[in-house]
């Protein structure tokens, strides 16, 4: 596998997303944050900083989720539908290079997207802190321009990276609609996963409990990657916790992308 080919495919995915005006969502994000921070100062009884932080992180996650799913599901299937896959595979490109390049390309798009959102987010927080001045400062649990927010943003990125891998996986063998439904389904399941672990509190059947436990470990576990609330309330998030989450995400993504490569490598495009 050559990194040059992977890089070329990744960059072309990024360029395509820019051409498709995906980054327009950044404008919405900025306008949303500025408008909301202006409106909220009158509505929240001194809680505007908390609300702006919550809203900014939720918007980053939500916008990223839509990009991850709706672009992710078309990464492979669109090439097949447009029949451009034939000319691509006729070139000296291995199928695993194609899949990994596509994955990294969308990841790059999400990274750039999230990075710009983070800059806008900090700018708005800084501006609100400046406007509010000393009046509301005693109410804040954490400083306005809090570096700890980057922890939550990093975890959002990892969540999105897992979602992209899942979308790409489904994209290799199913239609975009089905892939979207399955990806969203797994995203929702990923937040309810803890229930599967504690299934013995719901049913008595041992086999069912074991199956539920197995599903807990097999399905994506996204809830632990959500530290938005902790960060906003200045609850310490240990570095070890973040590292373990990062390691889990990297391994899980590797498994899903590997499975996608496996399926895509066996597809017959004749």
């Amino acid at each position: 596998m050559t990194t040059g080919v992977v890089r070329t495919i990744a960059v072309s995915v990024f360029r395509e997303s820019v051409r498709d005006k995906v980054l327009y969502n950044l404008v919405f994000f900025a306008v949303l944050l500025i408008a909301v921070s202006y409106l909220l100062s009158q509505l929240t009884a001194g809680q505007d900083m908390k609300v702006i932080k919550d809203l900014g992180l939720a918007a980053m996650s939500l916008f990223g989720l839509f990009i991850a799913v709706f672009i992710g599901i078309g990464l492979v299937s669109k090439e097949v539908e447009k029949r451009s896959i034939y000319s691509l595979l006729a070139k000296p490109i291995r199928r695993q290079e194609f899949v990994i390049g596509k994955y990294l390309g969308l990841l790059l798009t999400l990274f750039v997207n999230l990075a710009i959102m983070a800059i806008a987010y900090y700018a708005v927080l800084g501006a609100v802190a400046w406007v509010d001045g000393a009046w509301f400062r005693p109410h804040w649990e954490a400083p306005a321009v809090d570096p700890a927010l980057l922890k939550a943003i990093a975890m959002i990125f990892l969540q999105l990276a897992i979602v992209v891998a899942i979308a790409l996986f489904f994209s290799t063998f199913s239609s975009p609609m089905l892939a979207a439904a399955l990806t969203f389904g797994l995203y929702v399941v990923g937040h309810f996963n803890a229930d599967l672990k504690n299934f013995e509190t719901v049913v008595d059947s041992k086999p069912v409990v074991y199956i539920a436990r197995a599903l807990y470990y097999l399905l994506p576990n996204l809830a632990p990657l959500d530290v938005k609330s902790e960060v906003v309330h200045a609850v310490p998030v240990p570095a070890t916790y973040l590292l373990l989450n990062t390691a889990y995400a990297v391994v899980y993504i590797s498994v899903v992308v590997f499975a996608a490569i496996f399926i895509f490598a066996r597809r017959d495009f004749k």
Partner: protein, 311 residues
């Protein structure tokens, strides 16, 4: 026709149609009152269901419910001359704090809104305590919640033993201020003493970080001043009545006799009311201090030792 002219015509037509749509809405809304949206509606009342459905957006949803709670409280409070219904306040606060269990302001301000007697609040100290107990269950080391529960038992329910218990529990927590334990002792010895109330509100006014709570403390202190002044006025009135052999009919009557200097005003600058039939003195409904709190009764341990309190 040039392209520029075409664009101009298109934009003009678009603006005109939009203006017509706006005009139609204005006419409809003026003509038909039933198009109003019922704001007193809670689609989902089970907080746990909402929390589960919120996925990772629970904190944001908590903010939405907090804003709704504020709007509901503010909206009802501003209703003039009508009965106020705060029935959605507890469910909204319960939703906000279930979605974000660390929402300190949600618990503390929410409890004040709930405990405040009608018409200024919901008049439900039981719900206020339930909300704060939820906060204690999630964060047992937050002394502020213990303080607030104790204060509701003291100020709203006049249950000094329970108040003392909560103050003592809060005072024993790490990081709790030194004065919290002394509150417990004050409760058991001088529960219904107005001076004890004054000392506690002064403490809150000096220590609270929240401007809103500080203002509330100032207002409470002004109400206590008003109660003191009313006591003095009652004494003057009774003495005058005993001398003149007739009930006082108006402030002017007292002022003419030189018993008071002009019409007495409360600490917010609004004249006190005087009922000529019963002789009752109070603050006017347009005063910032209205309604005056129902003062805590004397602690049973003291018997009749506490000063007489006007009811």
């Amino acid at each position: 026709m040039t392209r520029r002219r075409q664009t101009g015509i298109f934009l003009t037509a678009l603006a005109a149609m939009l203006a017509v749509a706006v005009a139609l809405q204005v006419v409809r809304d003026r003509a038909f009152a039933f198009s109003k949206v019922d704001r007193r509606l809670l689609y989902v009342s089970n907080a746990e269901v909402v929390r589960r459905a919120a996925l990772s957006y629970d904190a944001l949803l908590a903010d939405v419910y907090w804003i709704r709670a504020l709007q509901h409280y503010g909206g009802e409070r501003q209703k003039a001359g009508r009965e106020r219904h705060y029935d959605l306040l507890y469910p909204l606060l319960d939703l906000a704090t279930t979605l974000d269990p660390r929402f300190t302001v949600g618990y503390r301000f929410g409890a004040i809104f709930l405990a405040e007697p009608q018409p200024g609040g919901a008049g439900r100290p039981d719900q206020a305590i339930a909300l704060l107990e939820k906060g204690v269950a999630f964060n047992p080391n937050k002394w502020d919640y213990y303080h607030d529960v104790g204060f509701i038992y003291y100020w709203n329910l006049h249950n000094y033993e329970k108040a003392a218990d909560w103050f003592a529990r809060g005072g024993s927590l790490p990081g709790a201020p030194f004065w919290l334990k002394s509150y417990a002792a004050v409760m058991l010895t001088r529960g219904g003493d107005r001076q004890a109330s004054r000392a506690m509100w002064t403490q809150i006014g000096q220590n609270e970080e929240s401007d809103w709570l500080r203002q509330t403390a100032q207002m409470r202190l002004a109400q206590l001043d008003a109660l003191d002044q009313i006591d003095v006025l009652k004494r003057i009135m009774n003495e005058f009545a005993a001398r003149a052999g007739q009930r006082v009919q108006s402030w002017q009557q007292l002022a003419r006799a030189g018993a008071v200097r002009g019409i007495p005003v409360d600490p917010s600058g609004v004249p006190y009311t005087l009922d000529p039939n019963t002789g009752a003195i109070g603050v006017a409904t347009n005063s910032d201090l209205w309604p005056l709190p129902t003062e805590p009764a004397a602690a049973p341990e003291l018997g009749g030792a506490a000063p007489p309190v006007p009811r």
